[in-house]
């Protein structure tokens, strides 16, 4: 086994402006926000971004004007409303979007994981999702029945970033037995070319191998693993900490204008030295108030 434990700096260094990157997590869970703040601090721009239900990770990148193109099923802030910066980016024409429905995006991820150029679905006949995207969604005839089927192109990005629960230095990432799974983190990991995982905690390989079925991202699929406690803040990492309601409200309020959003990123991404400094800024007592690890089994 190969050791893959490294720093956020080293892990994210290969991601340059112009890259294509898939971000894990869904809604207010496990958005790889620490990694995103790091990319923003580095001034990476012009990204092609893919996600499942994207919230803070995508919206902060949009605020940094780092997204050229977005492909996915959703960008919003869940119960905090629409994603203000992503909206501005799309409405101004700065961000080009290709929308995909859930079965389409699942097929795209599975195709990449299976080394296939496409997989078929039957969902999008008549929709503008297909009509506006002939280069990634094509109708063809079922080889058995001749009936129409839609091919959706594999989701192939140069990099994939996922935030997980715990992992070992070889990159094996495990989830708790009771967890939330309203996401596509595992299929994304399987579909990844270069997979960077941040985890709440590095544990021993001995702990991992006692319950191998809890490994949802095998180290074999991983290029780099980084210990980043509270790496999803201000959203939740379920069973460890809950979403930060006060911070989310503040984020939404400040992002009412592009200037406010820029000031937010200056304060929380660009002017902090690193993730530790970010956590210091948020404050240990405040972080402790989000802790839910007592409820986990």
């Amino acid at each position: 086994m190969k050791e893959k434990l490294t720093s956020l700096d080293t892990a994210l260094a290969p991601i340059a402006s112009g890259a294509s990157v898939m971000f894990g997590g869904s809604l207010l869970r496990r958005q790889p926000n620490a990694a995103v703040r790091h990319l923003i601090a580095r001034g990476v721009k012009d990204l092609t971004v893919l996600s499942w239900a994207g919230t803070t990770a995508i919206d902060m990148l949009a605020a940094a004007e780092a997204i050229r193109r977005y492909e996915g099923i959703y960008v919003g802030l869940f119960n905090y409303g629409l994603a203000p910066n992503f909206r501005r980016g799309v409405q101004s024409g700065r961000i080009e979007v290709r929308d995909f429905s859930e079965t389409a995006m699942v097929a795209r991820l599975r195709a990449a994981a299976q080394g296939l150029r496409f997989l078929p679905i039957r969902t999008l006949f008549g929709s503008d999702i297909a009509a506006r995207n002939p280069e990634q969604i094509k109708t063809f005839a079922c080889p058995f029945t001749g009936e129409p089927v839609q091919a959706v192109a594999a989701a192939e990005t140069e990099f994939t970033i996922i935030h997980g629960y715990k992992g070992d230095k070889y990159g094996n990432v495990q989830w708790p037995v009771v967890r939330d799974t309203d996401d596509m983190d595992q299929p994304m990991a399987a579909a990844a070319k270069r997979l960077i995982v941040t985890v709440e905690k590095i544990v021993s390989h001995e702990e991992v191998k006692r319950q191998p079925s809890l490994t949802y991202i095998p180290g074999q699929w991983v290029e780099a693993i980084v210990e980043v406690p509270h790496g999803a803040h201000p959203v939740a990492c379920d069973t460890i900490y809950d979403e930060d309601d006060a911070h989310m409200r503040d984020y939404v309020a400040r992002c009412a204008t592009a200037e406010g959003a820029a000031a937010y990123l200056d304060e929380f991404a660009r002017s902090v030295a690193d993730h530790e400094a970010y956590l210091d800024k948020i404050g240990a007592a405040h972080l402790a108030s989000l802790d839910v690890s007592g409820g986990a089994q």
């Binding site: 869940f78 119960n79 905090y80 101004s92 979007v97 429905s101 799974t181 939740a236």
Partner: protein, 270 residues
């Protein structure tokens, strides 16, 4: 307003009405979505309706909520933070959302509830963008699984407030295909038989007329007039020959909603 209108809220009326649409052993998809009124329409009313159906006539009815299959609706969390959802007990929590997508495609869902920013005469909906797709006036959330609900679920119910900006002649972007351009045009695109069953609003209920598949006014909520409804729409719907009044919730339904299902006003808040 008639006498009854003071005795129940519109949300209670809609909840009871939808509950009566649920059949025993139905599997209903409920979304996880958003905030405020949108939450009530997409999550609160549907959860309350299925629970009411369970308690009244459909003990085998279930929901798939988020990625929880058959969460225990007798104990809906009081606070819908991520952690309370994670610990909400359920029959199953599949490894990722792909399981739900597969169930959608193989038509395992009987019922779903959807809301939208725009809906047209044939039940096509838009939750993606208002205005030009490439540089929209308002960018919305995207698609989620609304296209698959409309494509594959046997009985989709649309729950949306009546409003001229919502009920439009033509949606700016077809996120999900309902009855497409009416008649048999839906299946001609390649989609399966189906399409939205009912549109349940805060003022009236619509179905889709056999043949034309155009939206058709079938009942007015107590105290609401036909003119009031038509004034709130950007197109003129068909009107049923049997246009009647939406049945009001009975005392038992109201008691269950108020005392057992939503005592803390989480589901039917706004």
């Amino acid at each position: 307003m008639n006498d009854q209108s003071a005795t129940f809220t519109t949300n209670e009326l809609i909840t009871a009405y939808l509950a009566r649409q649920i059949e025993d052993d139905d599997l209903a998809f409920v979304g996880v979505g958003t905030n405020g009124r949108a939450f009530t329409l997409a999550v609160g009313i549907p959860l309350a309706a299925v629970r009411l159906a369970q308690m009244r006539h459909a003990p085998g009815a279930c929901v798939y909520w988020g990625n929880l299959l058959e969460p225990d609706l007798s104990e809906i969390p009081e606070k819908l933070t991520q952690d309370s959802l994670t610990h909400w007990q359920a029959a199953a929590c599949p490894p990722d959302t792909g399981t739900k997508c597969d169930m959608l495609m193989r038509r395992a869902f009987d019922v779903c509830f959807n809301s939208a920013a725009q809906i047209d005469r044939f039940g096509n909906m838009n939750i993606t963008a208002i205005g030009d797709y490439r540089q929209p006036k308002v960018r919305l959330v995207g698609c989620l699984a609304q296209p698959e609900h409309a494509a594959f679920v046997r009985r989709p119910y649309i729950v949306v407030d009546l409003d001229k900006r919502t009920f439009v002649e033509e949606v700016d972007f077809i996120t999900s295909v309902g009855h497409y351009k009416g008649g048999s045009s839906r299946t001609e695109t390649g989609l399966s038989e189906g399409g939205p069953r009912l549109v349940v609003t805060n003022k009236a209920v619509f179905d889709f007329a056999p043949g034309s598949k155009a939206m058709r006014l079938v009942s007015l909520h107590p105290g609401v007039t036909r003119e009031e409804v038509l004034d709130l729409m950007g197109f003129v719907p068909e009107v049923s020959e049997d246009l009647g009044e939406t049945p009001a919730p009975d005392a038992e339904e109201l008691r269950l909603i108020r005392h057992d299902i939503d005592p803390n006003h989480i589901l039917l808040r706004v």
